[in-house]
């Protein structure tokens, strides 16, 4: 699926993830990109219809596959950007890097605009 310029971008904090993953790991990323943060996928139901939705999920390896399945099943048209790290510091490194490089989904904006 091409990387979208989403109308609605959500960070999904997966099951069992504490606030550290939002308040420490994703802090700079959130301040830079201002995505909505959700701890339940049910929120996606309320995105206006026919709008592009992107979901960046934060998860450890033990829940990553279930999250992938859930999103694929419930929101097959959404762009899923899964981030899977077992350690907070690794997740923070990735998200801080995206913020520093202004790359919402970890690729340059030019790639996003060309629909790569």
């Amino acid at each position: 699926m091409a990387i979208p310029t989403p109308a609605y971008h959500f960070i999904y904090v997966g099951p069992g993830m504490t606030g550290d993953w939002l308040f420490i790991a994703a802090r700079k990323y959130w301040v830079h990109f201002k995505p909505s943060v959700i701890a339940s996928l049910d929120w996606i139901n309320f995105a206006p219809p026919r709008q592009q939705v992107a979901i960046t999920s934060l998860a450890r390896r033990d829940t990553a596959q279930q999250i992938r399945n859930d999103i694929a099943l419930r929101y097959p048209r959404a762009y899923h950007d899964p981030l899977v790290y077992d350690y907070l510091a690794d997740m923070q490194l990735t998200l801080d890097g995206r913020a520093a490089l202004n790359q919402r989904f970890g690729v340059p904006d030019a790639a996003m605009l060309s629909g790569v």
Binding site: G19, L22, V31, S36, V37
Partner: protein, 495 residues
Amino acid sequence: MKLDQYQWSHNPRGIHNTQAFLKINHARYVQAHLGWIKLVAGGNEYLGDIAQLNANGVTPIIRLYNPKFGTSPVPPGQIELVRQYIQAGARWFEFYNEPNLQFEWPDDQHPDYNDQAGSVAPMMDHWLQWAEQVIQMGGYPAFPALSETVGHSDDVTSWINVLMRYLAKTYYDRFRAVADNGLWVATHPYFYNHFYQEAGHPKVPRQPDDENGAEGGWHFEYPYDPITQSDDPGRSVLGASASAPNGDPIGLAGMGYAFMQRFKELFGGVGVPVIGTEGGITPVPVRGSLTQLDARFPGYNWRSHGEATLACFNWIATQAPPWMFGLALWKENDYWGDPDSEGKGAKEQLAAVQRLTDAPPVLKTVPSLAVLDGVGSAALITPTVPGPGPMHGTPDFHCLFMSADLNPDWFFDSAHVYWDRYQPALLTTLDLLGQFPANKSLAITLITTPAQRLALLKTIEDHAPNVFIDVITADSAEAIAAAFQLRVANGKRFQ
């Protein structure tokens, strides 16, 4: 979708298995020329049977068992099992079982059709979500089978009315989409002796010893049969008559008629398959005695029960409405005389089994009718108040929203403990409010500078007047920190 596109055996004869986990006996289903088997399953124990059932012309219907399930959402493990059963070749699935009965609910919860927030809304919300998932996987989801009980809080006609009106008001488009992509209706027609075979005149029934399942003149259309209409003119499944003020759907196809009436009125529906997944002429007969629960109709004896059982399947195949697809008799151990679910008390095989064995099945030809051909009156319903409904107690959804001029560091420095405890969403757009259904409540903890406070409150009020708003007005990091510390210290989500 069209009615003739559903995949099944076209043979209305069915049986309900004895209980979950018990090994099933393929040979007896073939012997009795069955076309359906309703399998209550505890897990994946019947996966290996599906291909053989289909090969034998016996279409399986699966309900995954959960005791006292109330209106709980489908557990993820059940969805995975449904996927596996579909991969094995099953198509027809049920979710919830007689949810209008207290027996199917946790002891501290009580089903009530007058309780929209506690009974009706969660049941239909969770059911619809399940149905959409089943369709996405390639299955056919059943509208839940209600216990055909009359009166009190479990009254079946009251339940079907409130459930369908709720769907019409809240999920008109989604329900129509489900209807057009595989919906069917599960019913539980335990229809007593509400049938007869004519003795030369439409209102004159044969007596039990004269009945013959291979001959014509049978009436299973209760309450629309000539005897009932003569006894109580105008009696119908949902409307009031002199003797049945709440309607009377206790017939083989009664709840099918009831569903289709509302389906047509509200959604512009024509018909979706109806299958009795429990039921039959009940109670099963006792050798040497006559069973006659309703004195308006002849009773039945050991032999005539078999004749009438055969006749009811033939009636479904040849005379019933096109949407009536079959009936799974309750249940296998009663009909074959097996020991009960605890392994005790083997009985005699009912005459009905031999009668079905001796008579080849009559297959049903289903016309190519579109499931939907209009829009229904519910298309005209528009919500009077946009956005979520009012909050009672704890909201269904809770989010935080910060004004654009607020320094986000103030929030990130102070809300960590609060977020850990309550895990609200952190929204950066209010667009989502307008998409909330009226049956869900929403609370917003609004964190705003004094300058933005009134404008934001007005925006929320305009978009979603029922939203509960918990305002934190702050112009410093310290003020925000104090607000969150107070909530955490008091154990209160909102101040």
